[in-house]
């Protein structure tokens, strides 16, 4: 069984994001970039399925700028077998619908039985690509997975839902999106980082797939969120209670 894992290069989750003063977006110049944390979890899950003898090949794919090669190499160093870079430089963030359309074409070429994607990218926080891909392929979907068991042409997936957990069984091929508690991604070891440099990385462009990159959402402005007024430090529990009572909160 082949597994396809889409990965995205995003601002590192530890970086404090700053909005550009002209409102044209966020400042990404000289900022540390990394693999989207949910995508690391997806890569890890795919590798574990391979280690368990369920998957035979793990292919990682990134749609975006050329620099996404870095995170593809990271995924290869973690244990993915090969990588595909689809260059689609829109000069800005690329929309999940566009990514899903390109991924659908990659799926048509690669014929994986399972796509494991992160539930959301921590830049646009849209939480949409996996579901959109499943829709375009006419496949089933199991989103926000915290446990995945694959057997007999099906995946049994425990999903994180609002009130607790839900288990669904989805026929393969299918799209699974991963949540935080699914696993803890491994670090790539130095020998594996070296080996990853020799693993195949195929370069394609969005034009190869004939997908229109025009965005459907026009970004009119990007601004700082409203700030909070400075608070005060209280000296004791009694003083705190006094303040809360004053405001009728307790």
């Amino acid at each position: 069984m082949k597994i396809l894992v889409p990965v995205k290069r995003v601002i590192d989750y530890n970086v404090k994001v700053r909005v550009k003063s002209d409102g044209s977006g966020v400042d990404l110049a000289n900022v540390k970039m990394s693999m989207n944390p949910f995508d690391e979890i997806s890569v890890e899950q795919a590798i574990r399925l391979k280690e368990a003898g369920i998957a035979t090949e793990v292919v990682v794919v990134s749609v975006g700028e050329k620099k996404a090669q870095e995170i593809l190499r990271t995924a290869l160093a973690m244990g993915a077998d090969r990588a595909i870079l689809v260059e689609a430089d829109t000069g800005d963030d690329i929309e999940p619908l566009t990514v899903a359309k390109i991924l659908a074409k990659v799926v048509a070429d690669e014929a994986p039985e399972l796509v494991i994607a992160g539930k959301q990218a921590i830049d646009n926080d849209m939480n949409a690509t996996g579901q959109m891909l499943a829709a375009l392929l006419g496949w089933g979907q199991a989103t926000f997975a915290s446990q995945v068991d694959v057997a007999d042409g099906k995946a049994s997936v425990t999903r994180e839902v609002d009130g607790g957990l839900q288990t669904v069984s989805v026929k393969l091929p299918a799209v699974i999106t991963t949540d935080l508690r699914l696993n803890e991604p491994r670090y790539a070891s130095l020998p594996n980082i070296m080996k990853a440099k020799k693993k195949p990385l195929e370069e394609k462009t969005a034009a190869d797939y004939g997908v229109d990159l025009s965005p459907r959402l026009k970004v009119l402005a990007t601004e700082e969120p409203a700030g909070r007024a400075a608070g005060i430090v209280v000296g004791s529990v009694d003083e705190l209670m006094g303040k809360l009572k004053e405001q009728g909160l307790v």
Binding site: I11, Y13, V17, V19, V26, E95, P96, L97, K119, Q120, I122, N124, M126, N127, G130, Q131, M132, A135, W139, G140, Q141, A142, T143, F144, E160, V161, D162, G163, G164, L165, Q166, T167, S169, V170, K171, A174, D179, L180, R181, P215, R216, L217, K218, V219, L220, A221, E223, E224, P225, R228, G231, V233, V237, D238, L240, M241, L244, Q247, L249, V250
Partner: protein, 306 residues
């Protein structure tokens, strides 16, 4: 303009608060028709929400558990004539709406916090560190509503209820089971008061300190990702960028350092109280009242004082 609003369900019943808040947002876009996947009793409650002009109800077992493939089919069955397809941005809406949007060849807009115009919306990006205003160029707009940004519409209306059928049942996925945590406490995203615990709590047993204070205040219990990852609290209590977003009147953060990802889920609370022994903890930068103290002294004392 006409809006098809997918009502939020919880354990087979209508999640009235989330649905009524989404109705407030949807009513700014046009005439609202609510779609209920569940029993008629839930549809009858949805029909009382002011601003809802009609309720469609589907009692088919295939949509009862919110399976994305079947609910998407149902929405598309009914989508004719609607300019907007909307749902509250809970995990159900997050699961279903992108699938609907892709099949309509539209780009979904998730977690909308403000309606500027019928085609223009504000939504947070980068864990709420930036707010983007986007204009949709798609003929049909598909969007989820972050309910903390809107007041709940009142009840007292009596809209007509019409039964609808699902045109085809998909066999792509099947529901196996729900493990829903039942609690007498208020629901996290709609509670007036939330008490949350973080890594500083130290253990699952100690989390009782948070629960006791919450119970005394009639509050919901929340947790930071660190507390959930450490096994102190269950995942459905997680507040943050990838968990639940809350905006209660009072949010008490206990032993929470205040990582950006946590702040993303609670910084719109009206009053924030932080109790932490680390004076440099970032949580104090968003707190209205900060108490620098050992939580193991301060929380029992506060519980006593309430």
């Amino acid at each position: 303009m006409a809006v098809l609003l997918l009502a939020e369900m919880a354990g087979g019943a209508l999640a009235l608060d989330a649905t009524a808040k989404a109705v407030t947002a949807a009513a700014k876009l046009g005439d609202v028709t609510a779609l209920v996947c569940g029993p008629k009793s839930a549809a009858e409650i949805a029909a009382t929400i002011e601003g809802v002009s009609k309720v469609l109800v589907c009692e088919d077992a295939a949509v009862a558990h919110g399976l994305a493939e079947n609910v998407t089919r149902l929405i598309l069955d009914q989508a004719q004539g609607f300019t907007h397809i909307v749902a509250p941005a809970g995990n159900s809406g997050r699961n279903i709406l992108p699938r609907v949007a892709a099949l309509l060849d539209a780009m979904v807009m998730t977690d909308v916090t403000e309606v500027i115009a019928p085609d223009t919306f504000k939504r947070p990006i980068y864990a709420g560190n930036a707010i983007q205003t986007v204009q949709s160029l798609d003929p049909v707009k598909v969007l989820s509503i972050r309910t903390t940004g809107f007041d709940a519409a009142g009840t007292g209306a009596a809209a007509p209820v019409e039964t609808v059928a699902l045109s085809a049942v998909s066999d792509l996925s099947a529901h196996v089971e729900d493990k829903v945590v039942s609690s007498d406490r208020p629901e996290l995203t709609s509670a007036k008061v939330v008490v949350s615990g973080g890594r500083g709590i130290g253990s699952e047993e100690n989390f009782a300190l948070v629960s006791s204070l919450a119970d005394k205040l009639g509050a919901a219990v929340g947790a930071s990702r660190a507390a959930v990852d450490s096994g102190f609290a269950s995942n459905d209590l997680q507040v943050g960028q990838t968990g639940k977003v809350v905006a209660p009147d009072l949010y008490i953060a206990v032993g929470i350092s205040g990582a950006i990802q946590h702040l993303a889920g609670m910084k719109d609370s009206k009053v924030i109280v932080a109790i932490n022994k680390d004076v440099d903890a970032p949580i104090f930068q968003v707190a209205d009242y900060g108490l620098v103290a050992d939580l193991f002294d301060a929380v029992p004392a506060l519980t006593e004082a309430v």
